[in-house]
């Protein structure tokens, strides 16, 4: 704060003024110094109180790796059960993504089997060859063993001998850091794949970019087809399933996709928006008449006004969290509970802001309407409403947008809407691609509501 003063101003005539200015400057400087110090002290306290140092020990970086990988890629498990000697190929190892009877992706070759596919849909016996993206190849032998051929390294043999897992490296090779081996388990990691053998199972994971089976699951006849292929099927090719047209079949299989549940997700998004809409608008409808009774220039009695004011404060003070807890006991999980929780909190907020808007109106317009012999209701409709409508509308629209976000959170608490799906997916701790999908949808939904409310505001409230 260095101010260069002109010589004339440098010597003020009044020494008292000079002292006062100096005093003020010193105080300011002290304040400017004290504030950052106080802030730092507070942050230091929080650093200790939140145990930020302990985060490092509790953090699980391997979780971060899983999560980041899962967000954009998926893996296919090729699993041989070492006890029953059956082979299963499943996307993400999930039941819903298991390849049916003897079918495998193109990069898994099942050799001539001794006794063919077994009754439970898995393939038994035989040799299985798995081609991996980096040119490596893994062969599950007929006995419980596997050959891993890495072009840059050589052939590794892993086998179960008795109850132990043994590892044979190519002659002369040292154990590289991408293999971890113990008597119970051997892990081999390569670019885009992972192999492990334990007593119970031999398993290979092959990673691929993209979200698996996003459009159709494996049981759909449309699974795994290319876009031109699908367009041709939809438009002119004969029906794959004689019972239904191809286009209807595609829509149906997509909507009822068991892995991604697109239909349920759309319903959940709708529920979330519905909660926000019902809650906000319901609160507005309830708060408007109450706001008239609570505004000093309309209140019929001081007592009513004060009582309503306190009531608004109470409704706002009882947080959405508390309303949610109380209401879900009465109404059970679902969108109605969420809508009512939003309604409760916002009735308080709207009551307060609306009555403030009503207190700030211009009385001349009301008097003018009154001069024509209008009654109280008509005065309110033609004298007051035109003045407060823009404020009310913009409040409602602003809260509609912000409540869409709240409805996601409340949905997670009361069990409704996209918030519920999201928490469920996060709690499984493995469906991160679904979490990513929901996050993208939520962000899209909130942004869409933002634009909609902005558009409506501009449309109805022209400057």
């Amino acid at each position: 704060m260095s101010t260069t003063l002109t010589p004339a101003a440098a010597a003020p005539a009044d020494p008292a003024l000079r002292a006062r200015v100096h005093g003020a400057m010193t105080r300011r400087r002290r304040l400017a110094l004290a504030l950052p110090v106080l802030l730092l002290a507070y942050l230091a306290y929080v650093f200790v109180a939140f145990d930020v140092a302990g985060i490092a020990s509790r953090a699980r970086p391997e979780n971060a790796a899983t999560l980041l990988n899962d967000f954009w890629s998926h893996k296919t498990h090729v699993t041989r059960d070492n006890r029953s000697d059956t082979l299963q190929v499943a996307i993400e190892g999930e039941n819903k993504g298991t390849y049916p009877d003897g079918q495998t992706p193109a990069w898994v070759h099942t050799g001539p089997t001794s006794d063919g596919p077994t009754a439970d849909g898995t393939t038994a016996g035989g040799e299985t060859v798995i081609d991996l993206p980096d040119g490596s190849r893994i062969t599950y032998g007929r006995d419980i063993s596997a050959l891993i051929e890495r072009p840059d390294f050589g052939t590794i043999r892993v086998a179960r001998v008795g109850r132990d897992i043994t590892l044979e490296l190519p002659p002369g090779a040292a154990l590289p850091d991408w293999i971890s081996a113990s008597a119970r388990r051997v892990n081999v990691t390569g670019p885009g794949w992972r192999f492990s053998m334990t007593n119970a199972r031999t398993e290979t994971f092959r990673y691929a970019p993209g979200w698996e089976l996003f459009f159709f699951t494996l049981e759909s006849p449309f699974a795994g087809r290319s876009l031109p292929d699908l367009v041709a099927l939809a438009l002119w090719e004969p029906r794959l399933d004689p019972a239904r047209p191809n286009l209807a079949g595609m829509a149906d299989d997509f909507w009822n996709n068991r892995m991604w549940r697109h239909g349920d997700v759309v319903w959940a998004l709708g529920e979330t928006v519905l909660m926000a809409f019902l809650g906000t608008m319901g609160a507005g409808l309830i708060a408007l008449p109450l706001a008239f009774l609570a505004a000093s220039n309309f209140a019929p009695a001081r007592l009513i006004r004060l009582a309503l004011r306190r009531m608004f404060d109470f409704f706002r003070g009882v947080d959405g969290l508390i309303w949610t807890v109380i209401l879900s006991r009465a109404f059970g999980p679902g969108p109605m509970t969420g809508a009512l929780a939003i309604l409760m909190t916002d009735t308080g907020t709207f009551g307060k802001t609306f009555s403030e808007a009503l207190e700030n109106i211009d009385t001349r317009q009301v008097e003018g309407v009154g001069a024509t012999g209008a009654n109280a209701l008509q005065r309110a409709r033609f004298g007051v409403m035109p003045q407060v409508a823009p404020v009310i509308l913009s409040q409602l629209l602003y809260y509609l947008e912000s409540n869409t976000r709240s409805a996601t959170v409340i949905g997670a608490l009361v069990g409704g809407g996209i918030g519920l799906l999201l928490t469920q997916a996060i709690n499984t701790q493995k469906d991160w691609e679904e979490v990513c999908y929901y996050i993208v949808l939520i962000v899209g939904m909130v942004m869409a509501m933002d634009s909609l409310s902005g558009w409506l505001r501009r449309r109805f409230i022209k400057g």
Binding site: V46, A49, F50, V325, I439
Partner: protein, 286 residues
């Protein structure tokens, strides 16, 4: 909806205009009522318990917990003290995230305001970034971070900070757009750097408005931090969840937590209301 009639030559024109306006309003009202009614029915149908059944039982749970709390009213003061540390944790989460959010939002706002931005080309990028930060609900970030960092206050803090940055950034940038550029230009003529121009030319002008928004945000963040506690990141929300899961026998704790939350929110609300009124009206001369 307050249209001023632009140029009306004849009363017939005016009557036609009014009729059309009334028709439009009527259509909007009908659409609105239809949306509300069908929305209500849909929500009612998809809810586990119906509205009509539930409305009679709204007071069952409050009555149950209150009667238990009344029976054991002697425990209440003890519980109020017992949960005070959790309440302080919740408040700390809100305070720190408001603080960091305000700082980050201030920087982002200056970077995203036309005429002030250091790199004008980045303005749309920063704006988009703030839009995304605003759009992600806190719970999403908090739950993912709980998976990565373990339970505790830090995930909630980061989640709320991110959201606050986005929400405040937009408001801050709107306030900064209205700032007078002359002080900054004057500073520029003395050879002041961008940082100096902002700090001495713009920030003093927007400070009252910015602090008022930040105070409002603090209120909102207290609520958010309580809710995030409920999904597992510490603070009073977590205690509430534990007490609720226990059920009967711990309802006096539930009541104590409700009372603490209610008092805190009401007090902070009233204080920040007063402070904001001073900041915006009575504070520094414009």
């Amino acid at each position: 909806m307050v249209d001023a009639p632009a140029s009306l030559h004849a009363p017939a024109d005016y009557a036609a205009l009014m009729r059309r306006k009334r028709l439009y309003s009527g259509v909007i009202v009908v659409i609105f009522v239809a949306l509300m009614a069908s929305g209500f029915r849909l929500a009612d149908a998809r809810n586990a318990g119906g509205f009509i059944d539930g409305i009679g039982h709204v007071f069952d749970f409050p009555a149950e917990i209150l009667s238990e709390a009344l029976r054991d009213w002697r425990n209440l003061p003890g519980f109020l003290l017992e949960f005070l540390p959790s309440l302080i944790e919740t408040l700390n989460i809100a305070a720190v995230s408001t603080l960091f959010g305000t700082l980050a939002a201030g920087v982002m706002a200056l970077f995203s305001t036309r005429g002030l931005a250091l790199w004008p080309r980045l303005v749309p990028v920063v704006r988009r970034a703030m839009d995304v930060m605003r759009a992600i609900p806190e719970i999403v970030v908090a739950l993912v971070l709980i998976y990565l960092l373990g339970t505790g206050p830090v995930p909630a803090m980061i989640a709320i900070t991110l959201h606050s940055t986005g929400a405040l950034g937009k408001l801050f940038s709107e306030a900064a757009e209205n700032a007078d550029l002359k002080p900054a230009e004057g500073l520029a003529s003395t050879g002041a750097s961008w940082l100096q121009r902002m700090w001495f030319g713009i920030v003093p002008q927007v400070a009252p408005n910015w602090s008022s928004y930040a105070l409002l945000r603090f209120e909102i963040n207290i609520r958010a931090s309580a809710i995030l506690g409920f999904v597992g990141s510490g603070g009073i929300g977590y205690d509430l969840k534990t007490a609720l899961q226990w059920g009967q026998g711990k309802y006096d704790e539930v009541v104590a937590i409700f009372v603490l939350l209610f008092l805190t929110i009401s007090i902070v609300d009233a204080l920040s209301d007063r402070a904001r009124a001073r900041l915006v009206r009575g504070g520094q001369p414009a």
